[in-house]
Amino acid sequence: MVKPSPAPVPGLGRDPAPFTVVGGHDTSARTDGEKPSLETVWNWLGQIPDPEIPVITLTDLGIIRDVEWNGDTLEVTVTPTYSGCPATSIINLDIETALRAHGIENLSLKRRLSPAWTTDWLTDAGRAKLEKYGIAPPQPAGGPQHCPHCKSQAVEKISQFGSTPCKAQWRCTDCLEPFDYFKCI
């Protein structure tokens, strides 16, 4: 467990970020010594992998709906993908762990049900990462565009449900590989 770092003291010339910044992005976006800018927070959230499909991040998935400062408290609003998805509580824990490691002391996580999560909120980068990983990204037509392995369009459904609530099982009748399809909802 990483302990929250002490708030930096302005004017003492010390590093404004007394922790390792993953990805080495610019931390000059901080508005003062205590409150990181919202852009910085979004950046941090964009480094947190989805616990079940770690090739995409929480921001790729589109489940972080809002980030704002309410006084000294950082409020992060998250929407669940599926109401019973067991990853939801892990996601909240991962957000808390990451933000605490970045020195956020007062944190409030909120759940927002409406508007309900839709795969339209998956980012283009997220869709590309899914495909590269072997999971066909969601399509409005209701089935995968092509096999994520050999790109053949000869695909058929095995089952409407898969290894996680958000996926279905399909197979390619050309290369014969089964693959996951990220359901469009």
Partner: protein, 251 residues
């Protein structure tokens, strides 16, 4: 009298809870791996919806009970689920027939609830509609596939329908709690959903080469809690075992 809104939310949450538990009984023993996974996913969705419904019920009640307290610390006579969902799984065909009958009602009902005057109820319904759309697609396909399948599968599906049909009527009964909800535009009147349900049922049964029972007799008493079938108590003794033996135990 108990607050009708609390009563109503328990009906919604108890039906998804009891069916979710029933369906989860298949985990690890379904006929094929894909069906096992599909059943487990369906159960998971229903349990997730239960957390939302019973969580809200606990808030509305205001006595400090959360979804877990309502699920694990009430006994059978306090449950408000539909009789259909507490019926035992039987064979795979009967499980899927029960699912199909429930899903057909559930989806149209949730669509009505998505326009509820209560924002929290509308939000839960909006979320659930997406999940239940998948449930109904799958259960419809399975009922057609097995009904219009082999002689054996056809016979089992017809047996399942004959056995479960007397539990359909309760889903469309309107009582004082429903009337209180309808008057405040919180929920649709269940009776108004029957014609669309019947039309869908007839179309699917025709494709599945199954025959709807002539008799419209309906068992009732589940959603009012007046008279559950004997099966619910046995199910709860399994589901609530840990909290009964070790009250308040946590991970």
């Amino acid at each position: 009298m108990t607050d009708p809104l609390f009563e109503y939310l328990c009906r919604m949450g108890d039906s998804t809870l009891v069916l979710g538990h029933r369906v989860s009984e298949w985990c690890g023993v379904a006929p094929v791996l894909e069906e096992d996974i599909a059943l487990a996913n369906t159960a998971l969705d229903l349990i997730g919806q239960t957390q939302l419904w019973l969580g809200l019920a606990g808030e509305v009640e205001g006595k400090g009970r959360d979804a877990d307290a309502l699920a694990f610390h009430r006994d059978v006579w306090e449950f408000r689920n539909l009789l259909l969902v507490e019926q035992p799984n039987g064979d795979f065909g009967r499980t899927m027939m029960r699912q199909f009958l429930f899903d057909s009602w559930h989806l149209s009902y949730l669509k009505g609830l998505a326009g509820s005057s209560n924002d929290q109820i509308a939000a839960i319904a909006e979320k659930s509609v997406k999940e239940v759309t998948y449930h109904l697609e799958r259960s419809t396909d399975t009922v057609i596939g097995l009904g219009d399948g082999t002689e054996e599968s056809h016979r089992r599906m017809q047996d399942a329908l004959d056995r479960l049909y007397p539990y359909v009527g309760e889903m469309f009964l309107t009582d004082a709690v429903d009337t209180a909800m309808t008057e405040q535009n919180i929920a649709p009147d269940p009776a108004t959903l029957r014609p669309a349900f019947d039309a869908h049922l007839d179309a699917v049964l025709q494709e599945a080469t199954l025959t709807k029972p002539q008799d419209n007799f309906a068992h009732k008493g589940g959603k009012t809690g007046a008279r559950h079938t004997e099966h619910l108590g046995h199910m709860l003794s399994q589901m609530q075992w840990l909290q009964r033996a070790y009250p308040g135990a946590t991970w």
